[in-house]
């Protein structure tokens, strides 16, 4: 990979994050980490009940991570987030939050950020 493809446009990420800042911080704050959303994800139930497929786990580790670092993330971090939002989530919007956090909306927002950076699902791999 060359230098230009490796660089991450932090400003662009930050712009998207700031646009939805209140939504994101409120959703992160409202998640009481109860793990009741786990069984609503079919990937969680069908892949050995691995906690990494839990909706809240996906949301906290993708958008929560971006929000915490204020968009300051490297290519490797983005690749990890790509795996979360594109491989571990199919955006079927069936996840259920007892408090009512819009988890699919948050995942979709993360996908938007990834798409802006050219981090897309890779179907030719594996």
């Amino acid at each position: 990979m060359n230098e230009t493809a490796d660089a991450v446009d932090v400003k662009k990420i930050r712009r998207t994050l700031n646009k939805n800042k209140t939504q994101i911080s409120l959703s992160l704050k409202l998640c009481v980490h109860c793990a009741l959303c786990a069984e609503s994800c079919f990937l969680y139930t069908h892949r050995g009940k691995d906690p990494i497929y839990m909706p809240s786990h996906k949301f906290i580790n993708s958008l929560g991570r971006l929000h915490k670092k204020k968009g300051d993330i490297d290519r490797k971090g983005l690749e990890e987030i790509r795996e979360i939002v594109w491989e571990r989530c199919v955006l079927c919007t069936r996840c259920y939050c007892p408090i009512g956090i819009d988890i699919p909306g948050m995942i979709a927002l993360t996908r938007e950020i990834c798409r802006d950076q050219g981090v897309l699902p890779q179907f030719d791999e594996a």
Partner: protein, 248 residues
């Protein structure tokens, strides 16, 4: 000295901060969501006769099947424990005889009180449920995977007034320092409530009643608005963006 401060100005400011914070959060919810255009989109339960997501009449077997895949059927123990915990958490302090006595002494009016024995049992239940949450957090892998230090702190913050109040009520140890701790922890909880994870007390009702989805209570009329708050004091003051009251 400490006792007087905790009883007088600190208690008053705690209640003021609690109510102001709650109002602020409710207003924030409305600035973060928008009205649904009924003609443009028709989500699950906007109107009963237009509902296409679910048939209006369901047999008992269908209801049972729906319950089985719902959160109650999947996690029955957690649902029951958390419902009882939250019910006792709110009811016990509000309808406690001692609290109502204090309110009557200062304002002349108060709510009705439950018998002291019942509120004592409720306090036991709250502490027991909190222990259940603590062990659940420690023992179950999927809960542990997303647990942070703040979760433990929030749990301690919630239960601290109950433990101190319980000990003070039964007068097992020194009464005076315990009741002081009880007041301080209760005030701390009230102050923190609108600004920490405990805001779920406010937002649970807002989210579940106003945002329509298949698990909401009743027919919600609002939906999420992505793209920042539509109303900010800065924008309102400088008047850069037109603020449409019809949409709000």
């Amino acid at each position: 000295m400490f006792y007087d401060i905790a009883r007088g100005p600190l208690a008053l400011s705690a209640f003021l901060i609690f109510f102001t914070g709650t109002t602020f959060q409710v207003l924030r919810f409305f600035s973060l969501s928008k009205k649904i255009h009924k003609t443009k989109s028709r989500p699950f339960r906007l109107s009963k006769d237009l509902s296409t997501a679910k048939p209006l009449t369901r047999s008992r077997a269908q209801r049972l099947a729906a319950l089985k895949v719902s959160i109650v059927g999947v996690n029955p123990i957690m649902t029951i424990v958390t419902s009882i915990f939250h019910l006792c958490l709110v009811v016990a302090p509000l309808l406690l005889l001692g609290h109502n006595q204090l309110i009557r002494e200062s304002w002349g009016i108060s709510l009705f009180s439950l018998p002291e024995r019942l509120t004592d049992i409720m306090t036991h239940v709250v502490i027991g449920c909190a222990l259940f949450f603590l062990f659940r957090r420690i023992l179950i892998a999927r809960v542990r995977s997303i647990t942070t230090v703040s979760d433990y702190l929030i749990l301690i913050l919630t239960v601290a007034p109950f433990i101190t109040g319980f000990l003070a009520f039964h007068q097992t140890h020194a009464y005076k320092p315990l009741i002081l701790l009880h007041m301080l922890s209760g005030e701390l909880m009230l102050i923190m409530l609108p600004f920490t994870k405990l805001t779920h007390m406010i937002f649970f009702f807002l989210y579940r009643f106003f945002i329509p989805h298949e698990n909401s209570f009743g027919c919600g009329t609002r939906t999420w608005y992505f793209g920042g708050p539509r109303f900010s004091f800065k924008r309102w003051y400088f008047g850069k963006d037109e603020f449409d009251i019809e949409e709000w």
